[in-house]
Symmetry: C2
């Protein structure tokens, strides 16, 4: 296994950063899809659009995946040309007890209908 991309240490993560990463309907859909994948195998990135029900450009999908990874929510594994995602569930549960459970328990929302930046509508 290689693990070439940056992953932050969980103890360095402020709550606001994790919340900001989650505060997007598309990223919430990705988190939901990754959460139900086999924790050992992870979810292949090629299957992510279908599993998450997202019709987004490849670059937009990559952007969302990068935010989730850089904010400590997912772990990306790269083996050869295969890239898989896992939820950092145990680590997140340790640092922010109940947060991921609450996120996954919340009503799912359609992608593209809610404001990403509430400040803009204020």
């Amino acid at each position: 296994m290689s693990d070439e991309v940056f992953h932050p240490a969980i103890e360095d993560l402020p709550l606001s950063k994790v919340l900001a990463a989650l505060a997007d309907p598309a990223r919430l859909a990705i988190v939901r899809a990754v959460a139900v994948a086999d924790p050992d195998d992870g979810l292949a990135c090629t299957l992510l659009p279908e599993q998450a029900g997202l019709r987004l450009s490849k670059s937009t999908m990559s952007h969302h995946q990068r935010i989730l990874r850089e904010c400590g929510i997912t772990r990306t594994r790269i083996v050869g040309s295969r890239r898989t995602l896992r939820l950092r569930r145990e680590e997140l549960d340790r640092r922010f007890p109940g947060l991921i459970a609450a996120t996954l328990a919340a009503p799912a929302e359609p992608v593209g209908t809610s404001a990403r930046r509430p400040a803009a509508s204020a």
Copy 2:
């Protein structure tokens, strides 16, 4: 009691919007301060900077309070010249079980040190 300002219906709130409102160290500090105030009396806005430990301009404080109100997290009551804030705890617990508890249980973070917009650092 007058209640002149806009408050969204809790059932209209998407999770992403609530998370975006919470995804800021200053707003998290406000939520923590309001959460420990007497639920009947609420927290007087004049006491908010001290109770939340925030040294921000009046306009920045107002901005944060507006975001929290418009995203369903707090309720503002205006009686005469007195303005008080309450956490919409019961409503939020009903719509997003565990979310506020997880938010309040998370380690507090210093204001001004974490990225509000992870996209900018990606």
